[in-house]
């Protein structure tokens, strides 16, 4: 018997003898009932006796058929365990792929706090021109919670009109009509918000050929000190209207 095998047997012997001692105490404490105690004691005693016999013989005996069967069962269990681990991991991989989605500006790679209206608006603002469809969806989300949100109403209407430019006539007309209604509602909700007036003016002139509404709204827009980015559009349209007479 080599040293490693001997050490292994000695360790098993010590473990089984310690288990027998512990078992007596556990029974005395009422943790193990009589039937279990008898079964465990017989098992430990038989295994310890076998190990001691092998140690004393100084050689490894051939394994009994029962031991071979136990070993085979353990090997099968190990294979089944490995298959189960792979299957669970694969299932979770598919699930995570299905649950993931495009990361929007400002979003974290995982999880994320339930966004406030202000954060959602900031997110949508960044996407206005890069990804208008996603921006429209975010504005719609905001309007579900706060139907009178002027910024969401204004920009969703504006983006709707812009994205429908290349659509078929029927779709475009419907989109422009919806946009004008939305922008009109925004101006009613907050007459001091310049963007709504500016966009209503532009949409009325460019997509609905309504010059009178355009002139009125663009004048209100200029009077309300619009943001520099919007003012650029407005100045160009006003110049065009003036040139057309």
């Amino acid at each position: 018997m080599d040293d490693a095998t001997r050490r292994n047997f000695e360790e098993q012997r010590d473990f089984l003898l310690a288990s027998l001692r512990d078992l007596e105490r556990e029974r005395a404490a009422g943790d193990v009932d009589t039937a279990d105690y008898e079964a465990l004691r017989s098992s430990y005693t038989a295994r310890a006796a076998d190990i001691i016999r092998r140690l004393e013989a100084g050689a490894v005996r051939m394994d009994s058929p029962a031991e071979v069967a136990v070993r085979r069962r353990r090997a099968s269990r190990r294979v089944l365990g490995a298959v189960a681990v792979v299957a669970v991991a694969a299932g979770l991989g598919v699930f995570v792929a299905r649950q993931s989605g495009q990361r929007l500006p400002g979003e974290t790679a995982s999880g994320g706090i339930a966004e406030s209206t202000a954060n959602k608006l900031a997110q949508a603002r960044q996407l206005n021109f890069a990804d208008p469809i996603t921006a429209i969806n975010i504005y719609s989300d905001v309007l579900k919670v706060d139907p009178d949100n002027v910024e969401a109403l204004t920009y969703r209407s504006w983006l709707l009109a812009l994205t429908a430019r290349d659509a078929e006539q029927e779709v475009r007309d419907a989109a422009v009509q919806t946009a004008i209604l939305g922008l009109g509602r925004a101006t009613l909700l907050d007459d001091t918000y310049p963007d709504a007036h500016c966009f209503l003016g532009i949409v009325s002139y460019r997509f609905a050929n309504d010059v009178a509404t355009a002139k009125r709204e663009l004048a209100k827009c200029e009077g309300a000190d619009p943001p520099a980015q919007v003012k650029g559009f407005v100045d160009a349209i006003v110049a065009e209207i003036n040139a057309a007479g």
Partner: protein, 666 residues
Amino acid sequence: MPAAVWASGVAGPVGRGALLVGVVAAAFGAIAAITAARESARGEVTRTARLVPRFVALSFLAALGAIVAMEWAMITRDFSLQYVQDHGSRSTPPLYNFTAVWSALEGSILLWILALALSAGLVAWRYRRRLDDQLITWAIAVICIVMVFFFILSFGPANPFAEGAPGVTDGPGPNPLLQNHILVLFHPPILYLGYVGFTVPFAFAIAALITGRVGEGWLLETRRWTLFAWGFLTVGIILGGWWSYEVLGWSGVWAWDPVENASLLPWLTGTAYIHSVLVQERRGMLRVWNLSLLLATFSLTILGTFLTRSGVLNSVHAFSESDIGTYLLVFFGIIVLVSLVLIGWRGDSLRSPGAIDSPVSREGAFLANNVLFSIFAFIVLLGTVFPLIIEALQDRQISVAEPFFDRLSIPIGIAMLALMCIAPVLPWRKASTELLRDRLFWPAWCGIGALVAGLVSGADGLAPLLAFALGGFSGGAALRQVALATRRQGWRGLVGRANGGMIVHVGVILIAVALSASNAYTRSQELRLSVGTPATFAGHTFELVGFREDKDDRSTAVKALVAVDGGQAYAPAITKFLNMGMNVGTPSVKTTWRYDIYLTLEPPVKMDSGEARIKVFVKPLIMWLWIGGGLMAIGTVLAAFPGRRRRRPTDPTSADVPTNVERVVT
């Protein structure tokens, strides 16, 4: 010497010098420890060993010197340093100026080093008379090697003492979210003590593998170190949840954000370890598994640092980004490789001599617990790194949102609660039906009582009702154990691993029930309030009393004063931080033992309009989250201090405590 002279650029050279001393001292400490271990292995009387504590002490002094220099630079507004230019400001209040040292990457690495050097110092002091023991010297060598890595990181790519551009006289200050609540003083240092604390058991595990002493001896050495590291990590995570609740204004405590996940991962594997290690101590089983869990826990702290500090993932916590990612990834790779090689090398001696006799036994329950914690850790890891893998392979930015984590963590949480109902009463080896019937009688009635109480108070939904019922059941099981122990041993029945562990269980159960209730039954609405016109929501009235504006050099805060239920006025606010031009909302919370009323002020705020948009959340049982967290901390302390009369690891679960000194195992 006048402060002005000190303020003019002394901190930089002092800090850089301290870091250099730290690198050298930690490297010599490692060399001396390895030499001493090899001398011991050859049976020689080691003289090198006595040098080890000196080098470790020098490393600690260097780390302390570096952080003091950084604090000095921040306090004296030494704008000659790039870090102070980026994160300091003349208008930052003293408290936040002090905490600004760890408000960004470079400073937080310094804090990490200090905690690590402190751990190394404590280990060297604790085992100062056992330096001829290879296990000890190899463990100190491993800690020193980890220290060398972090000192080099701080001295090189994450140097907080790098010189800044000349002529800068002011800076933006720390991120506004880091100067908005006093928890910034406690949450990061406590969390770091948890992360870093796991270095000690990791070092002992590596030392056990190197020396081949893979029996149960090293486990006994590291029992308290592990418990303290786990306790600090637990408290750090709970304080993080509290901070999120009090500062971020979304009324939640956990968002599955990458940084939160990075702290949860080592907590999950660490929790699995502190359970399964009992099986090894008691029955000599699960040796490879325990080693793997411990090595995984430490590896995950490094992986978490990589994920959150390298800039590869966006997070609400990613206050700075840097190029230290490669260093951390390589270090993580080395740790994993060395661990696997050592486990493979010692494979034969790690075989357990026995097997589990019955699945319905305490060891069977610990195994089931480990399976659940491991699956949970895998889910969190997968959800966190999946976006990173997709970005690397497909150059596409994706996000794994909350539903992925929620859908999978809820059934696992329920299964864990179910396990906590039965596990505490199970004996080792095998449990009979009669024994279970007897021991589970009262806990089961507690579960039924909790379910009925939930139904009577109007609760519905399968998951929360299951959580209430199982919470009652498992709470009953834990309290039964505590009651039995205190009946037998008096106040000593509250201390020790098993009894302290039951107090921790009660804390966990409270948290689980509070989270279930708040997730399932929170009601929220955005109210447009006008001064003098009350509005009603969820049975409460809200009246806008007026506005208040608080201004200082740093910020302008607009507060809406909202009277709740005709009583005290609460003041949700929006603060504009002038240096950064950033608006930060601050919620205001009315807390009772049954529910919280959480108010946030929504922009834009027009004070002269006499109107405000207030988002209201009514959240049940939130206070019990914090009480549960407190109980977990108390339970950990009780578990770590068993007093003089200790139970032997091999004693039966319901045996009396020995009174004779010979039976004491320390």
